[in-house]
């Protein structure tokens, strides 16, 4: 039993070590544009995987994830700015700066989680389209509130945030996020979430407190979105409310749908693919002088609905495909 648990931890430790090795050996020799793309890909993985917990595994369609990201981003940035104004050296590379950033990320994540809890409590009684509309509205409320909060910069946004998000920290967060959500889904509580997705009435008759399960998933999803927001702010050094509009939420939803609702590795793959796509479309926009991004996203979604309605991986994980092959050969 104990050794089995330890054995289960091995892939995660390997992932962590790989990330550390990449950070120290490979990232320094990468062109800066590429390492930038990798950082954004990592942030998008955290966002997509956390939204998948709500949309894919619990079956509650939320399209307000950018709102939670904004809460975490602003809260973490506000915290580090306050500390720097108090005279603490936060230049990149100091160990203290990294520790403080971790603290700020947790602070932003927790605040976002609390907001998720408060929003989820009343709104998760709604289903389907109605829930989607409420979460969309919530995202807009956050954005408009930020526009009008002067201590957070209002429409000008927050600037001068120390650039202390590192490749290592981003991918540490990726591994932790995927690990926590993976373990959650495989746990008893995770099974209750799946039950809610499958049939809410039946879940309730099994004694699952469905409201509690949904709100819990929502709050955990919001927590990790907040962490992603914190990483984002401390990489970009500026935050403006416009960065957290509906399009941002929609982008995350596309990642989840593209990868497959209910597949964590699908979300990871889709987040990386779409981040790359966005960067190359940016180059394309220089030629065409028009931003075709949203048009191409929509086309991808339409194509996906026609060809693979369940997303790239459906509810399966990458390792399911690995496993199937050898058994297929021996049979």
């Amino acid at each position: 039993m104990g050794s089995a648990t330890l054995k289960g931890l091995v892939p995660w430790l390997v992932a962590l070590l790989t990330m550390a090795a990449t950070h120290f050996l490979i990232v320094p020799i990468l062109p800066s544009t590429l390492s930038e793309i990798l950082v954004f890909a990592g942030i998008n993985i955290v966002l997509a995987v956390s939204l998948n917990l709500v949309n894919g595994f619990t079956g509650q369609f939320s399209i307000g994830h950018a709102g939670f990201m904004a809460v975490g981003a602003y809260a973490a940035a506000w915290a580090t700015l306050a500390l720097r104004n108090a005279g603490i050296d936060l230049s990149d590379g100091t160990f203290i700066a990294q520790v403080i950033l971790v603290g700020a990320l947790v602070f932003g994540g927790l605040l976002s989680g609390v907001v998720g809890f408060l929003v989820g409590l009343p709104s998760l009684r709604l289903k389907g389209d109605y829930l989607a509309i409420v979460t969309l509205g919530f995202g807009e409320i956050i954005r408009v509130s930020l526009l009008n909060l002067d201590f957070l910069g209002g429409a000008r946004g927050l600037s001068g945030i120390p650039r202390i998000t590192s490749f290592l920290l981003v991918y540490l967060c990726v591994v932790v996020t995927v690990f926590v959500i993976w373990r959650l889904i495989r746990s008893n509580h995770g099974r209750a979430l799946l039950a809610v997705r499958e049939d809410e009435v039946a879940a309730e008759s099994m004694g699952v407190n469905t409201t509690q399960a949904k709100v819990r998933a929502f709050a955990i999803g919001a927590f990790f979105a907040g962490i992603a927001g914190g990483l984002y702010g401390h990489y970009l050094t500026i935050l403006s409310p416009a960065a957290f509009d509906f399009n941002r939420s929609f982008e995350i939803v596309i990642m989840v749908v593209l990868g497959g609702m209910g597949s964590l590795s699908g979300s990871v793959v889709a987040a990386v693919l779409l981040t790359l796509l966005r960067e190359y479309l940016r180059d394309l926009a220089e030629y065409t002088q028009v931003d075709l991004r949203m048009i191409i996203y929509s086309l991808i979604l339409i194509g996906l609905m026609l060809l693979r309605p369940n997303g790239l991986l459906g509810t399966r994980e990458l390792k399911d495909f690995w496993r199937r092959r050898p058994t297929g050969k021996s049979a």
Partner: protein, 246 residues
């Protein structure tokens, strides 16, 4: 009148003057009955008589408009459904309500939700497989790939995982082949012999009355008749109205 009063035991479940509305429609209007420990009681009636509504109100999935439901001396009609399950009163929903995209074993796991995955989990699982050997062969299979009869068996097995003292069964024979129905009714009796009290809703009145101790006949939301199953089976009125004999 009812056997609980007749035998002098205190009833396990008591429904008092129950009324349930769907908006302006009165689905159940003032129904009272009691179920004694160890009984199989069968709720009969035509479509729309209010059978399922009563069951869903007892299990907490619907709210009462008027009246109360008491279980083991506790008023449960104001409790949420998931709390009522913890009192060991469990419903097997109509249309089976199993989780089609989860495996048979995961379904059974969820059945054990209220008791937790305790030491006796494996024992419970074995008991379930003993009762329904076919489920054992299909334990890793998605529940959606099971036949209708197997799905019903899974629904019952899953309910048993929560250690119920009282089981609400909603139309367990619906859409099943006659031979499978026989198995299901046999199992209902077996479960009852293990000490589980059962309230059964059925369209299949003939078969239900053969396994039940007592029957309650509903008509448009009111209790029209009640009595011992054997007496109901022999009553001309019942045979004409509900058992399809002319």
């Amino acid at each position: 009148m009812n056997s609980a009063a007749a035998t002098g035991t205190t009833p396990m479940l008591e429904v008092k003057d129950l009324a349930v509305n769907y908006g302006a429609i009165n689905a159940v209007r003032g129904v009272s009955f009691a179920v004694a420990p160890g009984e199989i009681v069968c709720l009969l009636g035509a479509n729309g008589a209010g059978k399922t509504t009563i069951l869903r109100t007892i299990s907490g999935l619907l709210r009462t408009t008027k009246g109360e439901v008491w279980f083991k001396g506790e008023k449960i009609s104001t409790m949420p459904a998931h709390t009522i399950v913890q009192k060991r009163l469990c419903q097997v929903p109509e249309g089976r309500g199993i989780f089609l995209n989860l495996s048979v074993e995961e379904n059974l796991d969820l059945g054990a939700w209220v008791v937790g995955k305790a030491k006796d989990y494996q024992e419970d699982l074995n008991k379930a497989f003993e009762l329904f050997p076919r489920l054992k062969d299909r334990r890793k299979q998605n529940a959606g790939t099971l036949s209708g009869g197997e799905q019903q068996m899974l629904a019952i097995a899953r309910a048993l995982m929560s250690h119920p003292e009282f089981l609400l069964l909603d139309e367990p024979s619906m859409g099943l082949a006659p031979r499978v129905i026989e198995t299901i009714f046999q199992v209902v009796q077996d479960i009852n012999k293990r000490g589980v009290t059962i309230l059964l809703v059925e369209q299949n009145a003939m078969q239900a009355l053969q396994v039940a101790h007592r029957g309650l006949v509903l008509e448009t939301g009111t209790l029209k008749l009640q009595g011992r199953a054997r007496e109901l089976l022999e009553s001309d009125e019942i045979r004409k109205a509900y058992l399809g004999e002319i």
